[in-house]
């Protein structure tokens, strides 16, 4: 299933899937997501029982374990509202990965229904709400990483639409933009050599473009590349798109 089969947006109330990474490490990204959505007049509901989308076990091949988590997620996000998630990867898990591992399960239709309601944040703002302008200002040269799990979706274009709409933002291209950063979930720990070599290559390309900030719609990629850069002793400023959008509203300069 692709996210082109989504339910149209009705009403302005959404459920926020904050992602396990934001729950554990990137609280400011989740907070920025809330503030950005509320700025757009959207009421944000946070289902307290949420944990993780189930992707780690799905990618690791342990589909029984993953389905257990997905079933929990389906129960937690019951209802009719759109589910908005500040991650292309978790979004793709909901509308594609989970459906794949539930193909032969009796409750596949529940999973499909959640998938049809799930939106990556930038996609939701631009294509769900129809918002293509942004108020405020953010003075920075930005390199934008299109995370791989947004391939085949409208998330990448949506994020670039929003970035281009912010006064003061200059988006720079960098080499081999379509290549993976090497995170890949469990891949990053079971293939540490290849994973970090891929990340180093990506960092070389990004640094050559001399951005002030490196922005993405997925904190997983940023955790990998930011962590790699810091370990090298050459840290790079990484931000989620939601943080840039929120800071622009406050007309903050790039940190």
């Amino acid at each position: 299933m692709l996210n082109s089969e989504r339910k149209p947006i009705t009403g302005k109330r959404v459920q926020l899937m904050a992602t396990c990474l934001c729950d554990a490490f990137y609280d400011d990204v989740a907070a920025a997501t809330v503030e950005v959505l509320e700025h757009l007049g959207v009421e944000v509901v946070f289902p307290e029982g949420q944990t993780c989308c189930g992707q780690p076990a799905f990618n690791g091949g342990d589909w029984a374990a993953s389905r257990k988590v997905v079933r929990h997620t389906v129960r937690t996000f019951a209802g009719e509202e759109p589910v908005v998630v500040p991650s292309g990867s978790c979004a793709a898990m909901m509308f594609h990965g989970a459906v794949l591992e539930f193909e032969k399960e009796r409750d596949v239709s529940d999973v499909e229904a959640l998938g049809r309601r799930t939106w990556e944040l930038a996609d939701f703002i631009v294509n769900g709400l129809g918002v293509k302008t942004w108020s405020g200002r953010y003075d920075a040269t930005v390199a934008f990483h299109r995370s791989c799990h947004s391939r085949g979706t409208q998330s990448g274009e949506a994020a670039l639409t929003l970035l281009a709409a912010i006064a003061g933002v200059k988006v720079v291209e960098f080499g081999e933009g379509e290549q993976c950063c090497g995170f890949g979930g469990t891949f990053s720990v079971s293939f540490p050599g290849i994973s970090t070599a891929m990340g180093a290559l990506k960092l070389d390309h990004v640094r050559a473009a001399r951005p002030d900030v490196f922005v993405s719609g997925d904190m997983s990629c940023m955790m990998h590349m930011g962590g790699l850069a810091a370990k090298e002793g050459k840290p790079i400023k990484t931000l989620h798109l939601a943080q840039v959008l929120r800071d622009a509203l406050k007309s903050k300069a790039a940190p």
Partner: protein, 461 residues
Amino acid sequence: MRFQPIDQFAKNLPPATRASVYQSTKTTHEKRTKLLFDQFAEPDRLREIAGEIKQHAIENLDTYLPQVEAKLKANGAHVHWASTAESACATVLQIMRARGATKMVKAKTMVSEEIELAHYLEKHGMEALETDLGEFIIQIDHDHPSHIVRPIIHKNRREIAQSFEREGLGSYNDDPATITQRARHFLRHKYLAADVGLTGANFVSAESGRIVLVTNEGNSRFCLAATKCHIALIGIEKIVPRDRDLALLLNLLGRSGTAQDLTVYTEFIGGPKLPAQPDGPEEMHVIFVDNGRTEVLASDCREILRCIRCGACLNVCPVYRQASGHAYRSVYPGPVGAVLSPLLAGEKFPQLADLPKASSLCGACHEVCPVNIPIPDLLLRLRARAKDENVPSPGTPPMGAWALLASQPTAWRAALAGGKLIDYLPTKLIPVPALQAWAAKRELPAWRGGEFRKWLKNRPR
């Protein structure tokens, strides 16, 4: 700590090899993309249609295989069916013996690599000479191809010049034109002396029985110029329903594989020489090889049989670029190989069950595939199969405890609070291999477990 075999292999790969694999795959990939998007309004739609054609073909082999057999026979060819590698090899040997033949010239065919035909024939006293330049170099070096389309992508010209010198093909000279001239001179005599020419097929039309062969060196034509017997070794998935399907598939194959509008030579072979024709092989044998394909067709990964062996997925794959082809320990490397090789391994699936793990699941392979194979989905299915069959997977963190935690909100919230420990403990003291593998090369961000939930609850509204 033990990591995945392909990661280990990549670690030991000479940097020069990695650099040349990277440069060459990157260049081809970029040219491929430019060509397709410059020349076609909707190349991705073409890939989808091509995928539908091939999917239809493989799902209706029970119709098309008898049809193509009848056509080939009507065209004057002999048709053989080989269910295993052994029977395919034995059929070739039998054909050669029946003709009293001892010398074969071979065009490049991946299925002959798969069934290890050249070794088999040599073991039975036959000469089987590779005539594709890359395959020829592989053969004299007793090496293995590391790429579907460019078998010697892992070698540089200095190594090749040394091999030529060792084989008595002239004193050391690493000029590519000289290397090519010397190979050409050597091979010309072999073409004239050979009894049998062996080719594969890129496509076979069920409608006409025409076999389509594409090459850039013209060696497959030379293989059939002087020999009296043509053997075509063909995987059963190479069938396309109609001649007109070739228009689309050939347009995509050249562009996807080598960034060419069309390969230099595209041959359509309708059968053996007709009485009115002045030359060409008088006898033609077509051997259709199954060798595990029927099982693949019966599996939930059957889409991989659409593959037209263009190599675009290898070229774009960041893991292939780091590890090169031999890392995959099989005839078919890269993303397509990571799916196909474990499937074709049959009972030996566990030995190659690590291949589907060698992917960050970035999806670039799916995005470039000319027949739109959802390779990441198939990699995931094979990972699930490996888990179901309890194949050990070094370096992969166990997921049972995590799943338990992630399906119980109270436990989850407790873990979010307790995770703060990782900020204080040295990573080396935390007995979680995944964490250590992460932290060896990457800083961990500060633990902020539960902070967002607190903010949400306490913020002024």
